[in-house]
Amino acid sequence: MKLKKEFFEFFSDIRIDTEANALREKREILVNDIKSKMPQILKDHDINITQSDIRTIDQGSYKYNTTIKSDVVDRDVAVIVSMCTDDMGDPRKFKSYLRDSIDIPSRTVSIKEPCVRASYHDHGIENLHIDLPLYAQIGSDFYLSRGKTNSSNYSWEDADPDGLNKYLCGKINGNDQLRRIICFIKKWRDEKYANANNDHEIPPSIGLTILACKLFSPQSDNEGDADLLALQKTMKAILNEFIVSKTITGEIMSAEISCPLPVRPYTDTFKKMKNSSDSYMIKFYNSLSRAVADLTDAINVESPHDAGVYVQKVLGNDFPIPQKEASYASTRNYREHSFG
């Protein structure tokens, strides 16, 4: 299979395999602030929680080791508070208590629908945020605090954060090709949606990751893993998950894909995208179709150079294109091999 070296190089170039020192330090400070300040803030609101009732777990790409380079570092850390049912109250208020525990000048704190976000800026530009989904743990049950500060739409949503981690780690850990394919799909997403104006326009990482885990097609030959083929087959399988309606003239009227969480509450990970605009799903489908077509062309063409050009259309300009064979061959026979 072509482009093995190029896929390997590209993966090395885009992946983040370790939590960087500054990020780790900021996360540790943030978690310490939560554990040290939140119990008192809750106590001021007649909720008795001790430090030992609060725990944090890693979530998202850093947990699954599928992080890729991006302009803004995005870190997910779930905050789980053990409490009794009577203490749960209004989830929006609970999130405001979490916000208050971490609201200091060195970070900007905001309440998002599914989490509290701590953002960090460098010279006025956000370069890092840590999202803190807040869970209430009642016995062995978990509930995610949902809703913005003044939104009328809020709830404690049934959830299973540990179960989701277990599911995805179980799929990804020990399967290096799957891990790479997830990173490539995320890179494709970042390239195609680089100019997106709205978060809901962009296919969510969690949806793409679960789809890739479910539909992953491992591919190898006698020279090892064949990532080009695995990427093409996995993306094609995702494409085939779409239900598409077309007009008589072939114009796409609607495109829909669903990907429920594999654990409670089993909600569709593309729900927000679907609910925001039909056009978002059509764009997603069209972009994916184009990517599958380009990857198919990359597989079918003979020249590694031409294959690289097709893959670059999918994964962006950073994907290395092998030298044209003609130019390589023209100098190959004239290379110096002797030393004095």
Binding site: A22, L23, S70
Partner: protein, 559 residues
């Protein structure tokens, strides 16, 4: 095809001007280039390309200096920067057809200009030290002495006349206390704490080049990055726990680029705040930085640069015998990583020996071990040679056994070899021992590799199948050759004639043997026969279970 036709065959190229035959200005990707075709009457000549009236700050391999063409009126006035298209000596121009040379330069230029950001980053990194030292602010050269690439380290700083030595603590430089007429050559300065920080992830780290100078933020981004962990967690923790006691600091960064390690030093000027950790100084206190012209000079690095086998690095080697063969072997051992060498020899270097002494006439009249010590130390200040002006005896051999990692025996006398062998066997020597000897006449030589934990010792070669002691069975010379190759000096002394080719040949095989041992290819004791035509495992029966030294007295199951 003419050169013009070849250039015009590229859609992306527009010829702006044909200055004279073979010299063009053309446009490509929005910039102009001067193209000088290879001279047809010089078979090794290649095409040369210059970037015209543009500083090429975003293109790798554009030379820093501008070129002028004095006296060449036909070339338009302007700024010309050479484009470095070829690695030095990478192409055999003399065998390349002329058209191919013309095309090759163009193809390389197009490839260079078509690179994506990551490819450009790699190309800039390839020439990191060129850009770093080319943009350095310092008048002094900073010579770095490390003994590894991967761990945080502290340096001692020594100032000389025009250079500064940054010496990792623990490294002893034999010339650091040397003096000249003005006094000490190297003065230990304590006003700058200096540290080595290895970079483990080099992504995004570019050298300073035109318009992209390093700033305090660049240093901060390396040690305190939020996305790419440029320095590992252990180093980061050490930075937090290290408290410099000086206001300014010198940092030497290390980075691996395509199997080559580079080091570059930067002086960091800080606010005068006490009790700040090294990390706090770098992240919070830095006011300004100064790029320092840096050259890595340590023995470890130089060995790495020439592709030395690292098996010998850091090993203590005992060399018994510093005669002709010993002098060649000592020289090569030191150049191959054995920087800790102890040499025993009681003889003096005589006139008659100098033509087969590795250093010629230097040290004539003095003890061979001492002469070797003086010469070998001059190779590099980290080389630690101890010369002992006597032949080794049982007591000293047993003492040395506890310090050495390998023994190399180059004494030619069978009596001495057998005696040493006996002592080592009886002492239960557990380190590798290599016997090397030449036969008279300069044809045959031998190497016996012995690890006494395995079957076989030097005395096996002097033992027949009945267990009787006989002359060396590995000998290839006949008695008549032996007689004609002995030079008698008329007063009872004799000298074997053998020239120097056998010395070089045998030394070379010894280096291969040591390499094979450290590479795990030698797993049992082995006798090697060396001749001008062949190097082979000897057909002499070895080891001998009937040997009275290692065989009959030992566990027979070893045989």
């Amino acid at each position: 095809m003419s050169i013009r036709e070849i250039l015009e065959s590229y859609d992306k190229i527009t010829i702006d001007q044909e200055i004279v035959d073979g010299i063009f200005i053309f446009s490509l990707f929005g910039k102009q280039y001067l193209y000088i075709a290879p001279l047809e009457d010089n078979p090794s000549a290649m095409a040369v390309i210059f970037l015209y009236n543009d500083d090429g700050s975003d293109i790798p391999h554009i030379m820093l200096k501008e070129e002028t063409f004095p006296g060449v009126d036909c070339i338009p006035q302007g700024k010309y920067r050479p484009v470095c298209l070829y690695e030095q000596e990478s192409i055999v121009g003399a065998i390349m057809p002329y058209d191919a040379k013309v095309r090759d330069a163009i193809e390389r230029l197009i490839e260079l200009l078509s690179m994506n950001e990551i490819e450009k980053e790699r190309e800039f990194q390839k020439e990191f030290m060129f850009y770093w030292n080319g943009n350095s602010d310092s008048h002094n050269t900073h010579n770095v002495y490390l003994d590894q690439n991967d761990s945080f380290s502290e340096f001692d700083v020594y100032y000389g006349n025009k250079s500064v030595r940054l010496v990792k603590r623990g490294i002893q430089l034999s010339d650091i206390d040397d003096r000249d007429k003005k006094g000490r050559i190297w003065t230990h300065h304590v006003e700058n704490n200096a540290y080595y920080i290895p970079i483990t992830d080099k992504r995004g780290i570019l050298p300073p080049y035109r318009g992209h100078n390093w700033t305090t933020q660049t240093i901060k981004d390396i040690v305190y990055s939020e996305q790419i962990e440029h320095i590992d967690q252990h180093t980061f923790q050490v930075l937090k726990n290290t408290f410099p006691n000086t206001q300014n600091i010198i940092i030497v960064f290390g980075m691996e680029l395509e199997k080559i390690h580079i080091s570059f030093a930067v002086k960091i000027k800080c606010k005068n705040i006490r009790n700040h950790s090294l990390l706090e100084k770098i992240v919070d206190d830095t006011i300004d930085i100064e790029q320092l012209f840096t050259i890595r000079k340590d023995y470890y690095y130089l060995c790495e640069q020439i592709g030395n086998d690292c098996g010998l690095l850091g090993k203590n080697v005992l060399l018994i015998g510093g005669g002709s063969l010993g002098s060649y072997i000592a020289f090569e051992l030191v150049k191959n990583g054995a920087s800790n060498l102890k040499i025993y020899d009681g003889d003096n270097l005589e006139d008659v020996n100098v033509l087969r002494w590795a250093y010629g006439g230097i040290g004539k009249g003095s003890n061979k071990a001492i002469a070797l010590t003086t010469m070998l130390k001059s190779i590099h200040p980290e080389i630690n040679i101890v010369g002992i002006n006597k032949n080794i005896n049982q007591d000293s051999l047993l003492i040395e056994l506890s310090f050495a990692d390998m023994i190399v025996i180059t004494v030619g006398s069978s009596n001495e070899q057998l005696n040493i062998n006996r002592i080592l066997v009886e002492a239960g020597c557990s380190i590798p021992v290599i016997y090397i000897w030449l036969e008279e006449g300069g044809i045959n030589s031998h190497i016996l590799f012995a690890d006494y934990r395995h079957a076989g010792c030097f005395e096996c070669l002097y033992t027949d199948i009945d267990g009787n002691l006989v002359n060396n069975r590995a000998r290839k010379n006949t008695l008549s050759i032996s007689e004609t190759s002995i030079i008698r000096n008329g007063c009872g002394g004799t000298r074997a004639s053998y020239g120097t080719a056998v010395l070089l040949r045998t030394t070379s095989v010894l280096l291969d043997t040591i390499h094979k041992f450290y590479d795990g290819q030698i797993t049992q004791n082995v006798l090697i026969d060396i001749s001008p035509n062949c190097v082979k495992i000897s057909d002499t029966p070895f080891p001998m279970r009937e040997c009275n030294c290692c065989g009959n007295k030992k566990d027979q199951s070893m045989y």
